[in-house]
Symmetry: C2
Subunit: 288 residues, 2 copies
Amino acid sequence: MERIAFIGTGVMGRSMAGHLLKAGYELTVYNRTKEKAAELIEQGAEWADNPAEAAAGADVVISIVGYPADVEATYLGEKGVLTTMKKGGVIIDMTTSSPILWQKIAKAAAEKGVDAIDAPVTGGDLGAKNATLAILCGGDEKVFEKVKPILAVMGKNIALFGAAGAGQYTKLVNQIAVAATMLSITESLIFAEKAGLDTKLVYDTIGGGAASSWSMVNLLPRVLRGDEAPGFMVKHMVKDLRLSLEAAREMKLELPGLVLAEKLYAELEAKGYADKGTQTLISWYRNQ
Amino acid sequence: MERIAFIGTGVMGRSMAGHLLKAGYELTVYNRTKEKAAELIEQGAEWADNPAEAAAGADVVISIVGYPADVEATYLGEKGVLTTMKKGGVIIDMTTSSPILWQKIAKAAAEKGVDAIDAPVTGGDLGAKNATLAILCGGDEKVFEKVKPILAVMGKNIALFGAAGAGQYTKLVNQIAVAATMLSITESLIFAEKAGLDTKLVYDTIGGGAASSWSMVNLLPRVLRGDEAPGFMVKHMVKDLRLSLEAAREMKLELPGLVLAEKLYAELEAKGYADKGTQTLISWYRNQ
């Protein structure tokens, strides 16, 4: 069984690494803040002081860190994975990050005989905890098949969408769609409230028809109950929408809905709502 | 059983009036173009030369016409319904129209002892044909209960949302939400295509998650098969989004997503796509 180095033991990573441990993989972990890896170390994971040390001797490196800059440092930095990773090894980044950056990392990896899979996920904290994540992959098909059993320990819906970066592009497709459905429930709700309608009755009635969305069915009822707990944080939405904009510009695409969504969420972030749930957009409209 | 005057026998109205005839109501019909009422006349409906003549002797008037100007002419015009409608009668407008205009018509009706219900629908041609429309009502509760059996002949999900205009406001809530989910599938698809992804695989994978919407599940597969048949026409979307904008401005609401959607669909309409389906927005982005 492969030896895995797992880099990034935040809320998502901790659950995912835990599943790998339980499945019997030997795990070395690294995280910027060591305390967040404490539970995994208790469960038998080895600690490494930096990505290079974690990758030494590993067959597979998996990372799920914060921002593209963190991904770049993890793989290409002075103490990065590619300084020690053995020939024939596989690196898998599960961070939602830049497809263009990943293509650069995959190229650098290939030059050292290391294979690369980008594999961002959807399904959030709960998907990570219950190992029901969708895992959106890019890379070579043979490499994908080789690591699929490892991915299957952490998720359910695992697919390959194309060459290096394709997983990231697919994740951004998802985020572009999510942002617009957030606009859909936000602006329709604000209109309904201002018109003095019984909003619960309105959404019970229209929620089954052409206006319906996952957000309308799953997120809006929580909003109507006053539940503002973050499912997905504003600052992460801003990150993902900026990545999408950057990729769109690279492809010379104009996406005005995406531009608008990024602007609105960036305003929210700037006003101190970075760590709130994305549904905070509704309060923001309410107070305009 | 009530005598009903039915005004507006276009694609939707024809099916709806047909259900009323079959249910045994005596029907008088009026339409700007008489040929479109021919089938109903064959089935036993009486013809009237104008709204006033149609309303004379009717207990209930139902209208489903084109634009707010048509609604206004139907009720308040020189040969309009309110010139002949008897005291104690009920007028029901099922056009998607202006809530503010309907409040004005309801007030004029009340001065003549006539009750008013606004009752726009969702569910489209198919919903009209199969009598499965959702009917979104505004008006007095007692009046609503009185006419509900008539509405139940034409639809399934029938609810009262508040005073005069509340049905129209609810329909606009629906349209605001629909427009943003159209942006959601359009911009995500354009991004996916440009990134060279297998779009069918992408939407099969993300279509069950947080990015999902009715449009993604029901409309997008048709687009991916190249089916451009109009489910809902661009010109009607423009009409509904302008009504929404007008109502939002009246309520002093800024809804930038709605502003953007109206702008995009108005551009489409201006470029000669008025009678195409709303999914034409996707071709429009493709050719930018």
